[in-house]
Subunit: 452 residues, 2 copies
């Protein structure tokens, strides 16, 4: 029986046109990261499962991880996310490395997902993190995300960065409303789906979780906030100047709690404004990011295209990633951006260049077998001396065949060596863009290249 | 208990300095490949095991492959080599793709090896293949290998490409000597170790496998060949002009067998000479390449350094890779070059640039908190308008701290914004290489950048 020619389910074969696109995207990611002085890193494809058990979400471990026992009885997994590896690496070096530590990577990851649009089992994810920089690190990561998307030609009508702060979220969800863990999780999930349901349905579902009407109202008010001014009004309305709620006497809503839980978000929004980023970045109370390790800023980048309106990236601040290695706390901020949703985004907005054809500078062809060595040597000169991309049509050929073949690629010039040229040690050069043709001795040809 | 900070056995963490080195190597591989008009591709990390069962060597499957059953009961493996994936991909498209097809990739592969110098469990391997180009494809691949190593600054005193031809090997091993498969394999392995043992030991071991002294002598003569002239003399000496052995009447040594099994190698050696490659490429009878799928040229690239004298790459021609997909035969030639032995090679010959420090164009620092927004905005201009690599020292700081920090990187210029500069909308720019310092208004600074 013949073998299957398809790739394993949920993975892709990257043919040259796909790979040129991937290289284009990865190149931009690396370029923008380096412009922000982030340094490249990578880790192993396999990690021991205990690393993920310590930090990853339950769904990832129970349903999505590719884990197995190796030949040495180790329980290992193909990396489903990069942050645990990064934490492991930073734990090794953070004590002797000057802060902040800025790192980026574009690893391939695998998750056992049901393949669908924008979601595959193998995918690449851009990761950038800054450690030991506090709120300014958060701002820098946001700034870099915006630069990255702008580097593809995207503008603020096409994408938006939605931010929130876990301290503020905790203040509302835990401090004010005081739900148990299970209800709290339900509320996280509900808030995440808010924009996908009618207001009445949302109000009803809120009340199914928060049974006290007073608290449900405050919660609804929270979910309607859209700006720093809104947040300030909200605090003023529901909490007295001393920070104790006018509405009810929740113990955690002390003055300390109010300021320490709300001030960072307000300060972040202020800095965003000072840097002219409010065109791109806005407060969104529905961003909560379920993962346990976030402790400060959380954000998601949304595609604004009506047919593709969803998050293409997300991230946030975390205080305790090194704890699992018995290392002292080192705060960090990270972003993860998958190439699959990014590609969907770029396609939806016509921001993707045409990668269907390969580009070469010269197509060298010889018309008689005796010219073979001359043609091959000429091609070699063009490559090594001038760094040109040169394809040789192997075997003697005819001009018509050469031009037919040249149409399948983006070719700068065709260079012919025929019987005449071989005798005269010359070449016929046809510039396909300029539609010019000239016969030059090799010496003249090289001289011309030297003046380019 | 704290988690282990080390990577999984046989894999590596790539910290920025390691990653810069890896990027440097991968960049050269891509650059040289593109100069030869090879096009990039990649395949999935996982393949179904049956793909490897069909083509890979036994050792790979039985002892080295990372295979497991996925959540959907599929028997899958992390790719231990790239050629089967490439064959699968080419099988999908070869009918409608103009020949030759030129492809390259730099995949990460995993093999369950005992980690040692130059051998790891996870490694990257440069792969380049050309399909449908016959002997000229073989020549091109050899030419490209040489160019690749030369692009790192290596010369012919540091590396050599050793070639042989499986048709010639088969003529000697099977046709002439006519051993059974088991003895044949032993002989392959012995010949592979020839240069690592004294001549007497080799002679004795040959005779342990080839019991007929006549044949053992011819075989020894074969292993002493070093050039095209040698090969011609060898044929003349042991075979009559009609191609039938003078020595004994082996049926397979008919005139047809002699010419079809020896002529391609002689022709290859002639073309190599015409292209001026004999400085780098030489015939070596000990190169046999055990893998079943080779059918024509076989080669290995050797490091000539006395402390590191071993193969850093290998490859050859194959006729039947598409057969397992029920596709018609399409001949190909490929090379595999691992980054681990390549790195050892470059280090042994001092060809490795210094990657210990990150490079940035500007280090921007502000000396008073009020200058923060100006510094961040300035950095942003330098990045987006001029494409510069800019690091901002986050939080106000002091010049002394800035200069201490700057020593840890390769910094072009330090840009200060202090109280004075903030008032005057100017910056103090200190070029660390030129050791110059000037105070410029922002307008003057940008104007200068525009003239660069």
């Amino acid at each position: 029986m013949a073998l299957n020619k398809s790739p394993y389910r949920g993975t892709r074969d990257f043919f040259p046109r796909d790979m040129r696109l991937r290289n284009f995207i990865f190149h931009k990611m690396a370029e923008v990261s380096e412009q922000y002085a982030y340094e490249p890193y990578d880790g192993p494809l396999l990690e021991e499962v205990e690393l993920y058990l310590a930090k990853s979400g339950e769904e990832l471990i129970n349903e999505q991880i590719y884990s197995f026992i190796d030949r040495g009885e180790r329980n290992v997994a193909i990396r489903p996310e990069m942050t645990p590896t990064l934490a492991r690496m930073v734990a090794q070096v953070h004590r002797e490395t000057p802060k902040p530590i800025r790192m980026y990577a574009i690893p391939n990851l695998m998750r056992y997902e049901k393949p669908q649009k924008g979601r595959l089992r193998e995918f690449w994810q851009y990761n950038a993190d800054i450690f030991g920089a506090g709120m300014l690190g958060e701002i820098e990561i946001l700034q870099m995300c915006v630069s990255l998307l702008k580097s593809f030609g995207a503008n603020s009508s096409q994408f938006g960065v939605h931010i929130n702060d876990r301290r503020f979220v905790d203040f509302i969800f835990n401090g004010l409303i005081g739900l148990d863990e299970v209800s709290n999780k339900k509320l996280y999930k509900l808030v995440d789906r808010k924009n996908k349901m009618p207001a009445e349905k949302f109000a009803a579902e809120v009340r199914a979780i928060i049974t006290e009407e007073d608290k449900a109202k405050i919660f609804e008010a929270y979910t309607g906030l859209t700006s720093a001014a809104d947040i300030k009004n909200f605090i003023d309305k529901y909490f007295s100047e001393t920070g104790v709620s006018d509405f009810h006497h929740n113990k955690t809503a002390s003055p300390v709690a109010v300021s320490s839980h709300v001030a960072p978000l307000l300060e972040t929004l202020k800095k965003i404004s000072e840097l002219g980023l409010d065109e791109y970045v806005k407060f969104d109370p529905s961003i909560v990011r379920g993962l346990d390790y976030y402790t400060g800023l959380v954000f998601e980048i949304f595609d604004k295209h009506p047919d593709n309106n969803r998050a293409i990236a997300g991230g946030g601040s975390y205080a305790n990633l090194l704890q699992i290695f018995n290392e002292q706390a080192l705060e960090g901020v990270g972003i993860g951006l998958g190439e699959v949703p990014l590609t969907e985004f770029l396609k939806a907005h016509n921001l993707m260049p045409d990668f269907s054809k390969a580009s070469i500078d010269y197509l060298v062809a010889y018309l008689v077998p005796e010219a073979e060595a001359m043609a091959l040597n000429l091609a070699q000169q063009l490559r090594t001396k001038w760094g040109k991309k040169v394809e040789v049509m192997l075997g003697e050929t005819k001009p018509k065949k050469v031009f037919t073949y040249a149409e399948k690629k983006v070719v700068g010039s065709v260079v012919f060596v025929g019987e005449e040229e071989l005798k005269a040690n010359s070449v016929k050069v046809k510039d396909l863009a300029e539609r010019t043709e000239e016969t030059l001795t090799l010496e003249e040809f090289y001289k011309k290249l030297g003046m380019e």
